[in-house]
Amino acid sequence: MKRAVVLIRSGPYGEASAAEGFRVVMTLPAMGVETTVVALEDGVFCLVRGGDGARVGWRGSLSQVFAQASEFEARLLVHKPSLLQRGIQEEELVGHHGCIGEEELCQLLRRASVLLAF
């Protein structure tokens, strides 16, 4: 079985990368690809509660979209060092499947067959 890790590296709304990355996440499990999403670098801002993309013309809140990851059988993990660097508390985030450290991130990458960065 293929294992994909989708890295969400960019913040919401300034570019569509994170939102488009999530569309990829939605499609992989149905094709039999075990899928893990990692929010890291500015991607952690995609999980911050309370934002609303409609303020800049977008359809809605990207954090609410990401909170649906488990509905698509994808695991959503958050890179803790990226949170710390940006002064974001875990309590500010929408629901996810846990935080990982640098070492766990590298192990996760090494177990994957496909890596996609957005």
């Binding site: 913040g11 801002f45 911050v48 609303d52 800049v56 002064g87």
Partner: protein
Amino acid sequence: METLFIFSKSPWARRDMETWLARVGEQDQVLLIQDAVLALRGSPGDISRELLSLRGRLWVLEADLAARGLQAGEAGVVDYPGAVGLVLEAERVLAL
């Protein structure tokens, strides 16, 4: 106002702020839009300190801040007409 510097990219992804904030003079002002507003939650290197030193001359676009669920902190908040006002007050605009 002399020059209005508009930053639009995150300081975590690009080096624009790292390179250009040092060129902001005492008669200049700074407007953060789009992903550059992420800088208000903390930035790499000296950027946070440099932004702080701009007190009174640092602005952030309200819609971009609200979209991302962030607070303005030390920055002044402008809406779109307010941003147009800054553009017109300035002698020139450099958007990076």
